[in-house]
C-alpha cells in the first residue's frame, strides 16, 4: 500500500505540490489526471525516488520512501515520460544496463530481458539499435526497461505521449495485463479517455492540489448533472443558442455545443422545443458526462488548456 501524506514540493518559481495526500491500495490501477503543469510529474518523480519532497511523507508498505532509500526503489519501476533509452546501442544492451542496476544476476537478467521483450513484441528486434525503432517501439521498450526487475509498483508518467493509436492500445493491453498479474500501477495522464479506460481509481490534480478522487463512477456521480447533451454546431443550431441556454449551462466548443442540464430538466420538453425551432434530432446526442466535464466543473478549465 502506498500512503502519501501531506506532500509539498516547491521550486523557485512554482509550488508544484501543495499538501497532497493519497492512499493507493495494492493491485490498484490508479490514475492521476490533470492538465500540463498540474504537478503530476513532480509527484511521480518523488514516488520514483528521484526527488525528495520539501515536507510530507510517502510510505510504501509502511516504509518511508526517500531519495537515499535505495532498497525500497527495487519495489518500484518508473516508465518515464521521456524515452529514457540510449539510442546508439541495441535494445538488449539498453535492457542489460538498466536491469543490472537493479542487481539482477546474469541468468535472471537474461530471462527477464527475453520475457519482457516478448511481452512488448520486440524480441525479434533485440539486436537492433534503438535509433532504428519507431516511436511506438521505443515507447514499448521504455516500458520493458522499467519492469525487468518485476517491481511491485509501476509508475507510468504519460507513457503514451506522441504515439499512434495502435501502439497506445498495445501499451494499454500490456499495462492491463501487468495489473491483472497483481502489479499496482500509478498512471498519470491528461487524456481523460485513458484514465476512463484504465483506472479503477482516479485522483484529479490541479495546481498541486488533489481536487477530487474516487472511482470513475464516484467522480461522475459527484457532478451536478447526470447526462450531457451535445448539439452539433450548424446554421440552424447557432440561431437557437438562447433557447438552448434555457435548459442548462451551455458550453460552446469548436464544432458543437455541450449542454449540462440543470435540475428539473425534462428530456421530453427539451426535444419538443428543439423540434419547434427546427433543430434536427440527428444533431443531438445524449451521453454520460466524462472526466473532462468533471474537470471543467471543478476548475472552470478544460483538461488540455
Amino acid at each position: 500500500m502506498i500512503t502519501v501524506k501531506n506532500l509539498t514540493k516547491k521550486f523557485p518559481s512554482v509550488t508544484a505540490l501543495d499538501g497532497v495526500s493519497l492512499e493507493i491500495n495494492d493491485k490498484e490501477f490508479f490514475g492521476l489526471l490533470g492538465p500540463n503543469g498540474a504537478g503530476k510529474s513532480t509527484l511521480m518523480n518523488i514516488l520514483a525516488g528521484y526527488l525528495d519532497a520539501d515536507s510530507g511523507d510517502i510510505l510504501i508498505d509502511n516504509e518511508k520512501l526517500s531519495v537515499n532509500n535505495l532498497t525500497i526503489k527495487k519495489k518500484i519501476g518508473l516508465v518515464p515520460q521521456a524515452l529514457a533509452l540510449y539510442d546508439e546501442i541495441t535494445a538488449i544492451e539498453n535492457l542489460e544496463i538498466f536491469g543490472s542496476l537493479y542487481g539482477l544476476k546474469k541468468s535472471q537478467l537474461r530471462y527477464a530481458i527475453a520475457e519482457k521483450l516478448k511481452m512488448v513484441g520486440l524480441f525479434d528486434r533485440k539486436k537492433d539499435k534503438v535509433q532504428t525503432f519507431s516511436g511506438g517501439m521505443k515507447r514499448r521498450l521504455n516500458l520493458a526497461a522499467s519492469i525487468l526487475h518485476d517491481p511491485k509498483i509501476i509508475l507510468c508518467d504519460e507513457p503514451t505521449v506522441g504515439i499512434d493509436p495502435q501502439s497506445r492500445n498495445a501499451i494499454f493491453e500490456y499495462l492491463e495485463k501487468l495489473n491483472s498479474d497483481g502489479k499496482t500501477i500509478i498512471y498519470t495522464t491528461h487524456y481523460m479517455e485513458e484514465a476512463e479506460r484504465l483506472c479503477s481509481k482516479i485522483a484529479v490534480i490541479d495546481f498541486g492540489h488533489i481536487i477530487s478522487r474516487g472511482t470513475l463512477d464516484e467522480l461522475i456521480d459527484s457532478l451536478n448533472y447526470k447526462q450531457t447533451i451535445t448539439i452539433s454546431k450548424n446554421h440552424s443550431t447557432e440561431k437557437q443558442v438562447d433557447i438552448l441556454k434555457s435548459f442548462g449551462k451551455l458550453i460552446l466548443e469548436q464544432d458543437k455545443f455541450e449542454l449540462q442540464p440543470t435540475d428539473g430538466f425534462k428530456l421530453s420538453a427539451f426535444f419538443k422545443v428543439i423540434e419547434e425551432n427546427g433543430i434536427s434530432y440527428s444533431a443531438v446526442n445524449l451521453k454520460r458526462p466524462s472526466l473532462e466535464s468533471l474537470f471543467l466543473q471543478l476548475t472552470g478549465r478544460n483538461l488540455r488548456d
Binding site: 532498497t71 527495487k74 518515464p80 521521456a82 537493479y102 526497461a145 522499467s146
Partner: protein
C-alpha cells in the same frame, strides 16, 4: 527583401542569445590573439625573465663585468643561489649548479670558470650546462647570452685581436701592427691612439648587429672570442626530444576535450530522461558521479597511453624505461583533467554551454600551460598564471619522466599538485552539483 531582412534579424537574435556562440566568436579569438601577439612581438615585448643559473669562479675584471651585465639584463632571471638539503640558501658551485639543472629547476646554467680569462688568453672561456627539453628555449638562451656578452664587452674583442696579432707577428711586429691600426683609426675617426692601444676602446657593439657578422667567418671568429663550452646534462639518451615534449602537450589537450565532452554528457542524459531512470533504480547521485569520474579517469589513461604509443611508433619516444612513473603521472593528469570536466558540467547550465566554455578554457590552458609553445615566451604575468593550470603540471610531469628520467620521489611534488588540483576541483564540483540543476 523584407523577408530576407526578417530572417537575418532572426539569425542575430538567436546568435546573441547563444552566449556560447558569442564567446567563441569574440572572446576566444581575442584571447588567442593576445597570447600569440605577446609571443610573436605584437605587443612589443620580447622574452624576459628566463631562468639562468649562474656561477662565477673567476676574479677577472671581464668576468665581473659579465656578471654585472647579466644581473641587469631583463631577458634573464639570474639565479646564483639555491636551498640546500639543510634548508640553507647557499651559492652555487659547479657541482650544485649541474644538479640544479638536472633537477629541472632551470633550463641552463652559465659557469665562468676560474681560468675563464687571463692576460695571455685570446678569448673568454665559458661553460654552459643545459637541459635541451625545449630546443627553441635553448636557442633563444644561447642567442641572448652571446648578444648580451658581445654587446656589453667590446674590449674583449679588441684586446683579443691585439694579442692575437702579437702572437702571430711576434711582439715587436705585433706592436707595430697594432700601432699602425691605431694611427689609421685616429686619422679617420679621430680617436686617441693611446686609448686604443692601452685598453681597447674600439666599440664594436654596433657591428654586432651588422648583417655581415652572420657570415660563417665572423661567426667563427666570435666563437673564438667567446668560447662557450656546452654540455648537455639531461636527455642525452632521448631519441627524439622535441617529439617528447609536443606529444605530451597535444595529448593532454585532446584528453581535456574528450573529458569535457564526457562530462557534458550528463546534460544529455538528463535531457533524455536517462538520469531520471537511473536514479529511480537503486542508484544514488554520488554513485553516478563516481562512475563518471572513474570512467573518465580510465578513459584518460587509455587515451594518454594511446597518444604516447603513437609517439613511440612515429618518433621512437621511450615510454617503457620509466613506465611505472609514467603511469603515475598519467593517472594524476587524468584525475586532474577529469575533475576539470566535472567542474565544467557542474557550473554549466546546458550541454552547449559546457562544450563552449570547455573549448575556451582548454585552448586558454593549453596555450598558457605550455602545450603549444614554451611558457617563457609568454608575458611574465601569464607565466605566473600558467602555474595554476593542470596542463602546465601535466607537461612538467611528462617531461620529468620521459625526458629527465625522474624517479618516484622526484615526481611526487608534481603528482601531489595534480592530485591536489583534482581534489579541490572535485570538492567545488560536488558543492555545485548539490545546488545546481543537473540532477
Amino acid at each position: 527583401m523584407k523577408t530576407i531582412l526578417t530572417l537575418i534579424k532572426k539569425e542575430y537574435i538567436l546568435f546573441w542569445n547563444d552566449k556560447v556562440a558569442v564567446s567563441l566568436t569574440f572572446i576566444v579569438p581575442a584571447a588567442l590573439i593576445f597570447l600569440f601577439g605577446s609571443i610573436f612581438g605584437g605587443s612589443g615585448q620580447s622574452a624576459s625573465g628566463i631562468n639562468l643559473a649562474f656561477v662565477n669562479n673567476s676574479n677577472s675584471r671581464i668576468a665581473r663585468k659579465i656578471e654585472s651585465t647579466l644581473d641587469t639584463t631583463k631577458a634573464f632571471n639570474i639565479i646564483k643561489t639555491y636551498v640546500n638539503d639543510d634548508g640553507k640558501t647557499v651559492k652555487f658551485d659547479t657541482v650544485s649548479v649541474k644538479r640544479y639543472i638536472m633537477g629541472g629547476n632551470a633550463t641552463a646554467a652559465l659557469v665562468i670558470p676560474k681560468n675563464a680569462y687571463s692576460d695571455t688568453s685570446f678569448g673568454l672561456k665559458l661553460k654552459f650546462y643545459y637541459d635541451p627539453k625545449n630546443a627553441l628555449e635553448m636557442q633563444i638562451i644561447q642567442g641572448l647570452l652571446q648578444q648580451t656578452i658581445m654587446m656589453q664587452i667590446p674590449e674583449l674583442f679588441n684586446s683579443g685581436m691585439m694579442r692575437r696579432s702579437q702572437e702571430v707577428l711576434g711582439k715587436i711586429k705585433g706592436n707595430s701592427f697594432n700601432r699602425q691600426i691605431a694611427l689609421l683609426v685616429h686619422k679617420y675617426f679621430g680617436v686617441d691612439t693611446s686609448k686604443i692601444l692601452s685598453n681597447g676602446y674600439l666599440n664594436f657593439s654596433d657591428t654586432t648587429q651588422n648583417d655581415s657578422l652572420s657570415s660563417s667567418g665572423f661567426k667563427s671568429f666570435f666563437n673564438k672570442i667567446i668560447n662557450l663550452d656546452k654540455e648537455q646534462l639531461v636527455g642525452k639518451n632521448v631519441s627524439n626530444p622535441q617529439a617528447t615534449r609536443s606529444v605530451g602537450g597535444w595529448a593532454i589537450m585532446f584528453l581535456l576535450f574528450t573529458i569535457t565532452a564526457s562530462g557534458a554528457s550528463l546534460f544529455e542524459e538528463k535531457q533524455s530522461g536517462v538520469t531520471l531512470r537511473i536514479l529511480s533504480c537503486p542508484v544514488s547521485r554520488v554513485q553516478i558521479l563516481w562512475s563518471k569520474y572513474l570512467y573518465n579517469i580510465s578513459l584518460g589513461i587509455i587515451q594518454l597511453y594511446a597518444m604516447f604509443f603513437a609517439g613511440l611508433i612515429f618518433f621512437h619516444i621511450d615510454i617503457f624505461s620509466n613506465s611505472i612513473n609514467l603511469f603515475i603521472i598519467i593517472l594524476a593528469a587524468s584525475a586532474a583533467s577529469t575533475a576539470f570536466g566535472m567542474l565544467l558540467a557542474a557550473f554549466s547550465k546546458t550541454q552547449a554551454q559546457a562544450r563552449g566554455l570547455g573549448t575556451f578554457l582548454i585552448l586558454a590552458m593549453s596555450s598558457i600551460g605550455g602545450a603549444w609553445f614554451p611558457t617563457f615566451l609568454l608575458p611574465s604575468f601569464i607565466q605566473a598564471l600558467s602555474k595554476i593550470t593542470l596542463v602546465y603540471w601535466s607537461m612538467e610531469g611528462f617531461l620529468d619522466v620521459l625526458w629527465r628520467g625522474s624517479g618516484l620521489l622526484e615526481i611526487l611534488p608534481i603528482v601531489g599538485i595534480l592530485l591536489a588540483m583534482a581534489m579541490i576541483i572535485n570538492i567545488i564540483s560536488i558543492i555545485r552539483f548539490r545546488k545546481g540543476n543537473i540532477f
